[in-house]
Symmetry: C2
Subunit: 340 residues, 2 copies
Amino acid sequence: MSAGSDGVVVVALDAMGGDRAPAEPVRGALLAAGPALRVLLVGDEPALLGELDGRQGGASAVEVVHAPAVIGADEEGARAVKAKPDASLVVAHRLAAEGRAQAVVSAGHTGAMLAAGALVLRRVPGVLRPAIAVVLPSRGGPVVLIDGGANPDVRPEHLPQFALMGTLLARDVLGVAAPRVGLLSIGEEAGKGSELVQVAHAALLGSPGFVGNVEGRDIPRGAVDVVVTDGFTGNVALKLYEGAAAAIFAEVREALAASVRGRLAGALARPALRGLRRRIDPEEYGGAYLLGVRGLSVIAHGNSSGRGIANAVRLAARGVREGLVGQLEAGLAGRGAPVG
Amino acid sequence: MSAGSDGVVVVALDAMGGDRAPAEPVRGALLAAGPALRVLLVGDEPALLGELDGRQGGASAVEVVHAPAVIGADEEGARAVKAKPDASLVVAHRLAAEGRAQAVVSAGHTGAMLAAGALVLRRVPGVLRPAIAVVLPSRGGPVVLIDGGANPDVRPEHLPQFALMGTLLARDVLGVAAPRVGLLSIGEEAGKGSELVQVAHAALLGSPGFVGNVEGRDIPRGAVDVVVTDGFTGNVALKLYEGAAAAIFAEVREALAASVRGRLAGALARPALRGLRRRIDPEEYGGAYLLGVRGLSVIAHGNSSGRGIANAVRLAARGVREGLVGQLEAGLAGRGAPVG
């Protein structure tokens, strides 16, 4: 799963996945592709050629791979993956499993992504549960939240593996030398939290970088580099965080628009606020890694724009270049570079 | 628990509770007290008289009740409540249980508040688990989140009672005519979420105002009036939401301070942003109701300022005037004004 011998990374992009497919995935592919990053656009060939027609950009680094079927948003993930081997999302995974691509990206059905990861890419040996790792902005720099929603119900013994996977991501992709890991809870003392969290806390003692419990407020504060939690709490947290940022920016805009003085302030503040808005934009990283499967898989936002898709493709390529999957295999086997 | 026959509400305030006691509780009492709202300041009498000495405000509506002991932040809540009958937090509860006050407020130890609620005020007959109800700001107006942290582990059958308690609060205190109730989950369909949430969803069908699952982003969006969840997820969510608001405001401030143009914009924007900051300030409501006990109990933020304490005291008085505890008793007995 590392980059090819020529240094070129090939990413298979499900061009039919997401609310704005195929237009935005095609735009994203053209934005991201270049001499060192080829994109296989997987989906209905006539539709994709129509979208590509006349567009500028890295067209020579983009190739269409035909896949006639699509998995709809209302289908059950695992059933759809099994029933539709010629769906764009499944074909994209097969390209990665067969080595024609080193990574797969989709803004489509999250359940189908999890199923295709397990069924087509398969789990890394030793991994109990693949998990979704999301990179969130914070006052202290990027924070990895894991699990972002793959496992709504977990057992305590799953969390040390989540911690390991998140630590490798923080170290190898985000460049944090010695990632600090916190267990998401509702009080800092070891005895605080749900029964699950209390047992998980004990299981995490001795994990590299583990600093103990953290609370909800520690995510935006950036008190640690990796926040470990079950997929239910993690998904609630990440959607709340994104929603809070969007709501507060909308309120700031409206507060400024309500007076002449405010409108003048808003015009003056625009460059500063635009940079900030972009920095805390969920599209900044474009997607989340599905970790624990034998291939680099990135789940992009369902309503991704071309920019979001391009960032997701770049995130996938970065994971490939840093050898994230290989590091994980080595880490779970107790080999490779020690963590922490 | 309704207001006295003279229309005056009496609130027992634990003046030794919180990080900034007794100075800020005393300040808060003086801010809130008036002809229709008397405050019993409970704590070390010499210290409180010293704080009161020379201060202006509603001093005639404030009375000191001596309680020599204090429950420390590091004590175990239930044990401390049993071992220290003369602690300020316990004495304040006893004043409410004995009818000398109609409500109790503390910025102290949350675990001790829960224990004193159960042991001194006692549960409303039929209530399975008292729960913390927090009022959060949103784009769509105030949102009640319940449980905010009293029950880190719940059973599905607890959630319909949380929904009922939250609905009464939204209706009687916030004035929402027909509150919409959502179950916090990680997908809108009934089949999404943890096993607990899936069973709870079925248990909530038919509850007044129940509209189905909501996601984390629906809290800041204000998609419903009442969000029902377990105390673990709820506490993570509320601390994350507060933390996100604080972090984003700090980022806005810093982004504006980084350039001359930004500083000018910031100066012009100050009035508009100050109003907004206050509207989304956790101190705006000052505290959270502990619902399901036979008395009106408000848990204020541990680091409350005088303004936060005053708002918590007013919140308590509002609950007394609206007869919140009586409505709850009637609602659980199937009597009283129908909900929804």
